[in-house]
Amino acid sequence: MVDVTPADAVPPAEVAEMELYHPHSWWTKYVFSQDAKVIAVQYSATATAIGLVALMLSWLMRLQLGFPGTFDFITPEAYYQFITMHGMIMVIYLLTALFLGGFGNYLIPLMVGARDMVFPYVNMLSYWVYLLAVLVLVSSFFAPGGPTGAGWTLYPPQAITSGTPGGQDWGIILMLSSLILFIIGFTMGGLNYVVTVLQGRTRGMTLMRLPLTVWGIFTATVMALLAFPALFVACVMMLLDRLLGTSFFMPAIVEMGQQLQHNGGSPILFQHLFWFFGHPEVYIVALPAFGIVSDLISTHARKNIFGYRMMVWAIIAIGALSFVVWAHHMYVSGMNPYFGFFFATTTLIIAVPTAIKVYNWVLTLWRGDIHLTIPMLFALAFIVTFVNGGLTGLFLGNVVVDVPLSDTMFVVAHFHMVMGVAPILVIFGAIYHWYPKVTGRMLNETLGRFHFWVTFLGAYLIFFPMHYLGLMGIPRRYAELTDMNIMTESAHHLNSFISIMAFIVGFAQMVFLFNLIWSIRHGREAGGNPWRATTLEWQTPETPPAHGNFGKELPIVYRWAYDYSVPGAKEDFIPQNVPGSFGPSREPA
């Protein structure tokens, strides 16, 4: 253990005051704001808005799958467009943007005790480039030929041939341009998140005293900065293939009886680049969720997080390992079986640090003073859902199991459980948890509980039966399967049931949105620290935190973020900026 001397009186910790930009007008305060908190709200609102579009697209898909042949306007082409846009929006424009751009911007400066991000101007640009990316994406709905229908993986050659909706129209061009913009915007924001954690920490906030939320967002951002360039490269090269007739990815191909000018390109090259981004992307979404859920569980079970060091190490290990598993998405691409063996091994190894995290969450709950608040309910639901999705991941990580299950509804069920529902549950929990800090008011409890139960149970009823459909061999990505033998009558009933549940769960999200808006004015006053939490964002002088976050003096950090129910302490939590030691068990060893 490091030799440390307890010292109660320390001079104010205004370490190298950063040059804080002070807004002069309404425009620079609320629109072109350089304040990370405003940017966070802008990011979240934009991500939610585009997420609603994706939600509606999923309804349209479920209409078709549950009641095939009933709705004339859902042609097979339209169905592919819905599927593509739903996937791309949810994974990139909603989850990535909300976790890193939304929660990252809001929480990092507050949790590490900084006045703002280190490069506020670049941070502002990041949001506006993101907004531009979203607008370009949305514009493809109104372009001639509609959005691209290439599937969210955009595999060539089909993505840019004329058989695919948007392939020879504007759809794919706008999609690729939008992704390139998103990556540029994200890089600007990501630099901020990383460097703020490195350089913006207040006095006493060592790395090992960071709340796990910050660890999760930090590691995810590092991964995203290294993984998104792969998507960038893939997008630029495909754009050249489409616009200038190069042959990076396009093999010699005959389309509608005509030989295209492409020659000799490699679609597998695209798959490598895409999944080199695509697999880390799963953890870019999952690691912030891991971090946030750790803090939710600890706070609402009034108990320190079990195995903090292990949690940190596991986050780092998952981040590093996730870069060497990408080809498990390509088992059926005809690759060398030895590669398959290698990637199956690394894939299964990732289960170890992930399982450590799950055990630690459960052990944090063990004998905790569990308050079943709404954030806690969502956190518990996350653990269940994540374990479920993770276990099917072990199935699919094995080559021999993956080959028959590949491209069936089983895969759809798996990834929706593990990277759709699970992170979204954490996002909901986090919104219920931090909304009082952002607005100063609590969200409505009754509506919240309704939202939780319908969402959690409903999501299970949607995605659990899908595993069975997959095991029956029902393929994904098909607009209509009515005439096939495998589509038994029971499978049809199950599909209709799933669709109805999807509408109910979607409806619950409308209730949630109503709650978000209604509570801004009518919610119960929250006070500064409604959850009696220890981390710095709850210790700000004003709620919502004012410009500059911490008033005149930055807080000094004296302890880690998880001093809950310390024996001998007056209250059951000790904020990080409170000096002094408590209790017999805590004498320096």
């Binding site: 010292a7 910790a13 790395l207 090992m208 490269v233 090259l269 302890r559």
Partner: protein, 234 residues
């Protein structure tokens, strides 16, 4: 994908070295009531902007490693016809190296507080960089005139794509260089000027390094080198 994996290994090694200095084995639950007196465990003493640029350069390095990875993977297919590199590229390399040297001189001058020399260095760097970009455009021109068009062969496509990406990064750097120069002429605070000149130099050295790497790749030396290594290993 081996190039990018090697690059990430370097990044991981650096991250591991840094993390090993961050007391990751500390037991924070035993360290209550302590003011932040862990020497060296807080922020780095480097200027924040330099760390920011360092992180950005890691992203840029990642981007070019991925292009190189794709280059090597595509190269293995049968339709690859390597193109003769214009000899002008050697001159361009020299010009880019010159602008790097000029910026290094500007850094030295800024540290000594000689504003005139800083201005001279910045101006030289700006002009030589523009000359480099012009040279690259002329090289493109020569290639197209010789019939090596963008879409006619993947080797050509990669040549244009990678040089264009590199040129765009130089162009972006010129924006920063322009702002620094504006500061140098309008009399910013000396320590501020010094920092921005140092940032420019860091960026230019890195882009020179990237250029040397991709020059080696595009000229085929990198592939020869790799195959020699492979033969040595087997």
């Amino acid at each position: 994908m081996s190039v990018i994996l090697v690059f990430l290994l370097v990044i991981a090694g650096f991250a591991g070295w840094w993390l090993s200095h961050q007391r990751l084995t500390a037991k924070p639950w035993l360290e209550q009531g302590v003011a932040g007196d862990f020497v060296g465990f807080d922020r780095s003493s480097l200027p924040t902007a330099k760390i920011g640029l360092g992180v950005f350069l890691a992203v840029v390095g990642c981007l070019f490693s991925l292009f190189t990875s794709a280059y090597f993977m595509r190269m293995g297919l049968s339709d690859w016809r390597p193109l003769p590199l214009p000899r002008l590229l050697w001159l361009n390399t020299g010009v880019l190296a010159l602008s790097s040297v000029a910026l290094q001189c500007a850094v030295v001058a800024a540290r000594r507080g000689q504003v005139d020399m800083v201005r001279l260095g910045l101006a030289t760097a700006g002009l030589t960089s523009l000359a480099f970009l012009a040279g690259q455009l002329i090289a493109w021109r020569q290639l197209t005139e010789d019939g090596y068009l963008l879409a006619s062969n993947p080797a050509n496509s990669f040549f244009y794509l990678i040089t264009a990406m590199h040129g765009l990064h130089i162009l972006g750097g010129l924006v920063g260089l322009g702002r620094t120069s504006a500061g140098a002429w309008n009399g910013t605070r000396p320590e501020r000027l010094r920092l921005s000149v140092e940032l420019c130099a860091m960026y230019w050295h890195f882009l020179l390094f990237v250029w040397l790497c991709i020059f080696a790749v595009l000229a085929g030396w990198a592939a020869t080198f790799v195959s020699i290594c492979q033969r040595l290993l087997t």
